[in-house]
Structure formats: structure tokens, C-alpha cells
């Protein structure tokens, strides 16, 4: 069983949902980013999304855009993100890591070679934002060959006629985009999610994680009450960005501040489903 499937099975047995923090590789520098990645499981991350910096992140709001720019300035690349995962795996062979990014850096790396290296580095899944199912054929084969889950986005605009098509090539889990919009802007209401998730659930047995607009412990708790996981990105990156000095460099407490926030989120997620 894959790390992702194993982790969701464990969580199901525990009767709770997953906290999935997102950090951008190399933001604001390789060492700080690596320290964050290493610290996430201890702070309560159940799965980790590692963002691959790209110059033109068309689905991201200003917070993640800025993270990408800091990362690129610090030398961030797809190869660098893979190297971080390799380092991480020396100490942690259980926490699943999903790479999230855009297609062009993967194309440039070479799809086959990338999947081979990602698998060998200990990556468990891929979320390629600008690769809808209609274009995914050239990645799905090589990814499956290396045991990489291809995790698809489902949006509020994905209707019931389209859902089966999107779900057909999905494995690992489903990433439900909570709002029609970009990252770090609005949040979906609890009611909207409570209505949307069961509709997706009708079509799949895969775990469903909710992302886009999940910022607070309260929102993360609400997300795992209706779904199986909560992705928190912009809220953590905001904390990181605020902790930097005037030159955009990490301060000594940058890592601690972000991990403290992860702890608060994790606690909320763990207590969310405590029976009354």
C-alpha cells in the first residue's frame, strides 16, 4: 500500500481527518524551507504538500505568488524540490509528500525522467494545477509506473456530468477546490462545503481533502468534519512572510512561528470529530 493510502487508512481507524500543510520549496531560502519540511510531521502534519516554484502561477493569489518569487530568487527549481524530499526521507519514511505545481517545469525536466526521479526521491503524489484530465495522458502512464498518485482538482464548477471523467484518472485522494477563485483570497462557507462534498462522495471512495480558503483552526476543523483532510497554504505562508526581515531573509524564529501555527491547526483537526 502506498504511503498516502496507508496514512488515510490509519486516520480512518483513528476516526479523524488529515491536516495537510503546504509550503513552497526554497521559500525563503533552502535551509529554512528544509527546516520547515522536517519540522512539519512533529508539528502535526499528516500529509505534506510541497510547492514547486514557477514564474507564472496562474491559479495562485498574491501570497503564493510572492512565495514562488522568493523561492525562485533563492534558486528554487524542480530538481531542488526533489532533493528536499530525498533529504526528508532519510528521517521520515511514513509522512506522504505531494508535489504541487505547474506543468512547464516538469515538461522541461522531461516527464519520464521526472517521474523516475520523483519516485526514487520518495515523492508520493503529484498535483499539476494546469494539467486537466484532457491533457493528462502523457503523465499518467509514467506516474503510475513509478507508483506516484496523480491527484486531481475538483472545483465547484465541475458538474456531475464532468465529475466521473475527472475522477477516472485520479488516485491517492481528491483535492476539492473550495471556491471558484485563486488561492489565499476567499473562503467557502461551512454550509457550502457541507452541500458540495457529499455530491463528490457519491462518485468516489477516495479520501477528499479541501483546499483554497482554509486558513484558521476553526475552518480546518470544519473541513475535516465534512471531508477527510484540510489543506492550509496561504495562512502559513502569510506567517512566514511576516516573520522575514526587511531584506526578505528568515529570522531565527521564522520556522518556530510557522510550526506553532501548524500545531494549532493540528490540534483543531484532531479535536474536530470528538464525539459529543
Amino acid at each position: 500500500m502506498s504511503r498516502i493510502a496507508t496514512r488515510f487508512a490509519q486516520l480512518k481507524a483513528e476516526g479523524r481527518g488529515a491536516l495537510m500543510p503546504f509550503i513552497e520549496a526554497y521559500d525563503p531560502d533552502p535551509a529554512t524551507s528544509m527546516a520547515l519540511l522536517r519540522g512539519l510531521p512533529g508539528a502535526g502534519a499528516d500529509l505534506i504538500e510541497l510547492g514547486v516554484p514557477f514564474t507564472d502561477p496562474m491559479a495562485d493569489g498574491p501570497t503564493v505568488q510572492m512565495a514562488g518569487q522568493r523561492a525562485l530568487k533563492a534558486g528554487g527549481t524542480l530538481a531542488g524540490a526533489l532533493a528536499m524530499v530525498r533529504d526528508f526521507r532519510r528521517e521520515d519514511d511514513e509522512t506522504p509528500i505531494v508535489l504541487m505545481g505547474y506543468y512547464n517545469p516538469i515538461l522541461s525536466y522531461g516527464v519520464e525522467r521526472f517521474c523516475l526521479d520523483a519516485g526514487a526521491s520518495g515523492v508520493d503524489g503529484l498535483i499539476i494545477v494546469d494539467l486537466p484530465p484532457e491533457e493528462a495522458d502523457e503523465v499518467s502512464g509514467p506516474a503510475a509506473g513509478q507508483g506516484l498518485d496523480l491527484i486531481r482538482l475538483i472545483a465547484p464548477t465541475t458538474d456531475e456530468t464532468r465529475l466521473p471523467k475527472v475522477l477516472a484518472g485520479t488516485s491517492g485522494f481528491i483535492y476539492y477546490v473550495a471556491i471558484t477563485g485563486i488561492t489565499g483570497t476567499r473562503s467557502a462557507s461551512r454550509e457550502a462545503l457541507a452541500e458540495a462534498i457529499p455530491k463528490v462522495r457519491k462518485f468516489t471512495d477516495l479520501p477528499i481533502a479541501i483546499g483554497f480558503g482554509v486558513r484558521t483552526p476553526q475552518q480546518a476543523a470544519e473541513a475535516v468534519q465534512v471531508a477527510d483532510g484540510a489543506v492550509v497554504a496561504s495562512a502559513l505562508i502569510d506567517t512566514l512572510a511576516k516573520s522575514l526581515d526587511e531584506q526578505g531573509r528568515a529570522r531565527p524564529d521564522t520556522v518556530r512561528k510557522v510550526l506553532d501555527q501548524v500545531r494549532d491547526l493540528a490540534e483543531a483537526v484532531r479535536n474536530a470529530r470528538v464525539p459529543a
Partner: protein, 405 residues
């Protein structure tokens, strides 16, 4: 009897929106349904005689089509070779070819019931055309423009505002056309239900490359009739500048199956291809995926998109329409490039010899005509798409010539 054209180069794109390996729909899931909605609406509209008749009426009575085909006698004599004709797209209302496709798209948006229009613009020509059409149709218009471009294209910014559009300066990235397009896509993701994204060139996710091309083909179709009337035969060469490549595709496409017609697309070489400061996606880039399509792109070894440079804000884009990438790879169109300096010289020559101040974009095309015409016999014919007028560029040109206005 009509001969079938089994090998026509005009049949693309295929069902996946691809021209060979190029094109496609590389967008986030949130946008896929609306893109398919646009495609379906477009396929219905183009087969609706009433829709096409209304578009033709607007082209004739509002835009002022057909645009003339002008024999440049002084320029021809000066170059001492092939006869040079200009297809005068700069005489269109709003001063460029952009309005042809904008009117078609805004009619489509209205038909789809989308009351809000967004657009990206570099030099401001597409923004002005979109703001114009929105004023005509009474639709809300938001134009994304890089903050750098807002600074260097103040007259067009003010034009858009006069026309009732909201101009949003984009500060992300380098603040140029690429970043404006990112912001347009981000807006669309957040407002899919009431908004239509009026893309300005033959790029973006399918069906935009095909749709914008189809509307712009009015240029090439008119040119074909006009040159047959004037010369009784097809031209020997077509030349047009290529940024995203909508004016070029509009001229080229109706001639793709006419093997005897040589076709040249002219990219912006900026300060020179060897300097790295250019906007020649084919001349100095390689295939990748950006803004919804697979095409030639300027990028580094890691697949990060690099900034384009051109004296012409309208060519200042790191990509090119996917159909151009395909025409390059199959060898049907020859892509060449022209530097800022060569374009500046052509700009001045055209003004003095023909009394036409061309857009800096079109001056790139003309600079290649200046190289090509002297190598051809006097009975040969070259047609240049003079895609826009140069009023917007006089400040840039003055600065380069060391004059203050």
C-alpha cells in the same frame, strides 16, 4: 467539380484543440467547464448565418472594412526589387487589426449571456479595441495591463478610460503582457459565471487560438481577392510581424494551401538574439506550456519563463500562438527576426516614403520586407500586413531618436 483537399493545412486544430503537438487546454479545473462552454457557443455561433451576418455588418459599417490593399510605389522603387503591397489594417477603427476578433468575441459573450468582459493588453491596442466593443455593446469592461506598460502607454490607458473601461495595473512579475495575462486568467477563475475573457491573440487554451484566427482570417480572405483583382495572380510572398501572432495568422491562413506563396513570420529580436534580450519565441525558445497552450516559449533550463524584450510593447511576450509553432515545425512558414534598431529604421522609412506611420509591430514586418524585396525580381509581389498605425509609438520612437516631445 470541387477537388477534395486531403492534405489541407487549414483543417486544424484537431478535437483536442491541437495543431500537431501544439495547443491544447492546459488550464486549472475551475476553468475547464467555461472553456468548453465557450467552445460550444462558438461552434454554434459560427454556423449561425445571422451571427456571421451581424459580425460582417459591424466590420463594414463600424470598422470600415474592407481595408485597402495599397501598392507602395515609392517604397518599391526605393528597394529596387519586388513590388510591395501593404494590407492596410491600420485604417480600421481603433487603428489596428485587433478589432476584427474583438467584435466577434464580444458578440459571442453577449450571446452567452456574460455581462462582464475582461481582457489583457500589452501596448494597449487590444485593450482599446475591447473597451471600444464593450462601449458599443453596453458591457462592463476590465482591462489588465502590466504596471510597466501602464507607465509607457499612457495615451492608450486614457483612451480605455474614456471608453468606460476599468484599467487594472498588474504589479506581479515584471508588470508586462505575460503578467497581465496571468491576472486575466486569475480574474476569470474567480468570476467564471458572469465573465467572458476576451483573449487578444491566437494563443491561450483551445478554442481561443482557432477562434481568434477564424475572425482574423478576414484579413487574408480580403487580401486574396484584392491581389487577384489587382494583379490577376497570387503574391509570391506574405510578410507579417508575430508577437502572439493574430495579425499574421489572419493573413497567412487563407494562403496556407497555396504552395507557390512563400510566407514569413517576423519575430522581435530586440537587442539581438545573441544578447538574450528579445521576444523571439521560435528563434530563441523551445516548446513548453504556458497560458493554457503548448507552444514555443522563452524559458530557462528549469522551465521557468523568462522575460521578453522588444521596443514594441505589442511583441513583448515570451510565447507565440500554437499554430505558428506547428507551421514552423512543418516548415510551411519561415520565421525570421528583426532587431529593435532595424524596426526603428523601417518605421522612419515607411513614414517618409509612403506617408504612413506604422506601428512598431508592423515596422518589424517591414524591416524584413526591406531585406527580402531587393533579392527578388521586379515582377515578384510581396504583401506586408500593416497591422497597426504608429501614433501610439511616437513617444517611444522619439526617445530612441533622442528627441523630447
Amino acid at each position: 467539380m470541387n477537388k477534395p483537399l486531403p492534405n489541407s493545412l487549414r483543417q486544424g486544430p484537431d478535437g483536442r484543440g491541437r495543431f500537431g503537438q501544439f495547443g491544447g487546454r492546459f488550464v486549472a479545473e475551475t476553468l475547464m467547464p467555461v472553456i468548453q462552454e465557450v467552445e460550444q457557443a462558438y461552434n454554434e455561433a459560427r454556423n449561425d448565418p445571422a451571427f456571421m451576418a451581424e459580425w460582417r455588418r459591424l466590420l463594414k459599417d463600424y470598422v470600415g472594412r474592407p481595408s485597402p490593399l495599397w501598392l507602395c510605389e515609392r517604397l518599391t522603387e526605393h528597394l529596387g526589387g519586388a513590388k510591395v503591397y501593404f494590407k492596410r489594417e491600420e485604417l480600421n477603427h481603433t487603428g489596428a487589426h485587433k478589432i476584427n476578433a474583438v467584435l466577434g468575441q464580444i458578440m459571442l459573450a453577449k450571446r452567452m449571456g456574460k455581462p462582464r468582459i475582461i481582457a489583457e493588453t500589452g501596448a494597449g491596442q487590444h485593450g482599446v479595441a475591447t473597451a471600444t466593443a464593450c462601449a458599443l455593446f453596453g458591457l462592463k469592461c476590465v482591462v489588465y495591463m502590466g504596471a510597466t506598460d501602464v507607465e509607457r502607454q499612457q495615451p492608450n490607458v486614457f483612451r480605455m478610460k474614456l471608453l468606460g473601461a476599468e484599467v487594472v495595473p498588474v504589479t506581479s512579475g515584471a508588470g508586462t503582457l505575460k503578467d497581465a495575462m496571468n491576472e486575466g486568467l486569475r480574474d476569470w477563475v474567480a468570476n467564471v459565471s458572469d465573465t467572458y475573457y476576451c483573449i487578444g491573440t491566437v494563443a491561450g487554451p483551445a478554442p481561443f487560438p482557432q477562434m481568434v484566427r477564424d475572425f482574423q482570417c478576414v484579413i487574408g480572405e480580403e487580401t486574396k481577392q484584392q491581389i487577384l483583382a489587382a494583379e490577376g495572380r497570387l503574391p509570391d510572398a506574405l510578410v507579417c510581424a508575430v508577437g502572439g501572432g493574430s495579425s499574421a495568422m489572419g493573413l497567412f491562413h487563407p494562403f496556407l494551401d497555396d504552395e507557390e506563396v512563400a510566407i514569413y513570420g517576423v519575430e522581435a529580436a530586440g537587442r539581438g538574439l545573441e544578447t538574450g534580450e528579445h521576444a523571439a519565441a521560435i528563434g530563441g525558445g523551445r516548446p513548453g506550456v504556458l497560458h493554457g497552450n503548448r507552444t514555443y516559449l522563452l524559458q530557462d533550463n528549469h522551465g521557468q519563463i523568462t522575460e521578453a524584450h522588444s521596443i514594441s510593447a505589442g511583441l513583448d511576450y515570451p510565447g507565440i500562438g500554437p499554430e505558428h509553432s506547428w507551421l514552423h515545425e512543418i516548415g510551411r512558414v519561415t520565421y525570421v527576426s528583426v532587431t529593435d534598431q532595424e524596426a526603428l529604421e523601417a518605421f522612419q522609412l515607411c513614414s517618409r516614403l509612403e506617408g504612413i506611420i506604422p506601428a512598431l509591430e508592423s515596422a518589424h514586418g517591414l524591416a524584413h520586407v526591406m531585406k527580402l524585396a531587393p533579392t527578388l525580381e521586379k515582377d515578384k509581389i510581396i504583401i506586408l500586413n500593416l497591422s497597426g498605425r504608429g501614433d501610439k509609438d511616437i513617444f517611444t520612437v522619439a526617445r530612441h531618436l533622442g528627441e523630447t516631445l
